[in-house]
Amino acid sequence: MPKRVLIVDDAVFMRNMLRDILGAAGYLVVGEATHGIEAVQRHRELKPDLTTMDIVMPYKNGIEATREIVRTDPSAVIVICSALGQEALVMEAIEAGAADFVVKPFRPEDVLGVLRKVLGDERSP
């Protein structure tokens, strides 16, 4: 069964790009959220296997959203998608419970490499 993914990013461009990369690799993108509050809601509804999370977003940032999601679902797997130079924020997100991170601008193979690793799946999904 393909792994189900929730994409959280306020930029349409990033969401589309991630959807394409993940879709092509056989993941099932089950939902998208454009800010932290929506992310928490959608995560609760969809219970995805994995969530990609932007950090800087309106209403509620990715760190807060990560913290909230992990608090209600400690098994949630969240991968932070951050821009270069946001190291301090990424570390904060990791402390909040994120499983791993990728740095934008990213290459498809980097994203997929991280996703497979954190899902404990060396093969394609």
């Binding site: 570390m91 991170f101 490499g113 690793k117």
Partner: protein, 640 residues
Amino acid sequence: MAPGQDMSRYVGLFVAEAVEHLEALSRDLLALERERTPETVDSLFRHAHSVKGMAASMGLESIATLAHRVEDLVDVLRRGEGHWDRSVVDLVLAAVDSMLVQVRATAEGPPPTPPPDLLEGLSEAVRARTGRPLSPTRVARAHLFGGEPPGPAERPPRFQVELQIPASSQSPGVRAFLAHRTLAALGTVLFVRPSLEELRAGAIAGGRVTLGVEVPGGAARLREALARLPDLELLAVEPLDPSAPTAAEPPPAGLEPTQSVRVRTELLDDFLELAGELLLAIARLREIGKRMPEAHAPVLEEGVGRLHALAKEMHNRVMGARMTPLAVITDQLPRAVRDVARRRGREVDFSVEGAEIELDRAILDALAEPLLHVLRNAIDHGIEDGRSRAAAGKPERGSIRLGVRRTRDRVVVEVTDDGRGMDVEALRAAAVARGALTPEAARQLPESEALLLACLPGVSTARDVSDISGRGVGMDAVKRAVERVAGTLELSTGAGRGTRVAFRLPLTVAVLQLLLVRAGGEVVGLPITKVLGAVEETPSSVDRSSGAPVLRHGSGLLPIHGLAALLGFDEPAPRSPQPFVVLETDREPVALAVEGLLGQEEAVVKALPRPLDQLPGLAGVTILGSGRPVFILDVPRLLA
């Protein structure tokens, strides 16, 4: 001593006291060689007995055993069952030396075991003289080091892990941080090289990271966890020798044991007061210098300048010594929250973040009670029972978060719950019913202020009367306590979503940069941190907006307030140009019309004595170099 209790906080005291007893033991032994008196022998026995008791309470079995055998031997000799000879003194001295080494080592980690021949020698000496075996030594099971019971055999295995972060990694610092965190989640990280601070900063020579870890599951668990981390190569996992664990490793920077003494808080208060007085005296001296003949002025000024720099530095150091992490008060909160929640039959997850942030001791002390009260309120009146929560689509367990963060010059302490929230309309109604507000005024009050009505004595929206929070008494006390340390209280709420109570607090008490202005013929001080600008304008730049005077400032219009009138003085005649001070308030900035801008001054703030502290709008008082007392204004409260 309770079994399993964390004793690590007593280590310092134990070491200091045990060393004293052991040194006294040595002195007694040497005195005994010169002249043998019953008093000396008794003293010997008492010191050995004390060390035994202390070491046993600390769970330090090897020291306790050794002290016990010394005590036995001394007791035998005391009762005249044998002779003191040089060999006995040598034996006991050797035991004392061994205990000293072990006691001192306690401060750094688990103590080494005593040489077995020493124990054997002491036992043999007793047996030879009495023909009896020794009684066993009782030792408390206390957790001294990292929560692990003493004894290397019970310890999980330790490993040294070598990691390589590839040169292609975009964020080697974050990668290494994640690896550290992953290992910390598995067990205990004993050391990391480079240091965690260096890792965070991305300073990793050659991408090579070495960690020492203690992992219950062993190497397999370790490898499995690390395999899940991308962009990371596991070079080696090697067992660490458990008997020589961290000692062979250089301790991480910043964790070296520092010499410290305990001082009473009042002593720090005295130091602060004195350092403040010193600054005031120097300011006075500087004023006098201004009136000196020109020939002497520069020399004096240089001297006074140097003196001021030193006194300032001293003041800063004293302030630094008073800074205490919030953990001092928050450490007790999880237990308190649990107790209250249980009593109320609520399921609550409580978390604390940012407790490492430091505040002045005086502010911290003032905070403990109000914080506890706010938490009780959150449980009593905020968090619903499990069934109501489930019906409202919320997780059955309520959540209360205590978050502490630093802003530019303040510390914000926030308590956020996800309970039913506060009912703003009910608060308005209660305030009206109490006669505190007219219905009209209550209606016009913005929500953020209407919530503060909960702080009026006797106003409450609690649906039930509880033995824990009382009936609305409490929030007024909370507000007063926060304001007493120059903080502010903020409330926000969402019906059904929860309540947030925030204390905005100054980092420290004491030194403030002031802008001195003249108003109503008096000199008053405004905290510079609140001043956005000072301008002089001709009356033509003063407009009127819906009847009220406003000042054009930048791209906006600021409401104008006459400071003299705010202070209750007669309105002075308008001047041209008219000086204004633009001040930040809790809401929009305002322009204060003053009679003159007198300059900037560094002031040591003194709290107002009663009854002056009851006057709203006065934040404190300072004494200028000239000896003149000046009130420091709290403009947001003057405007309120």
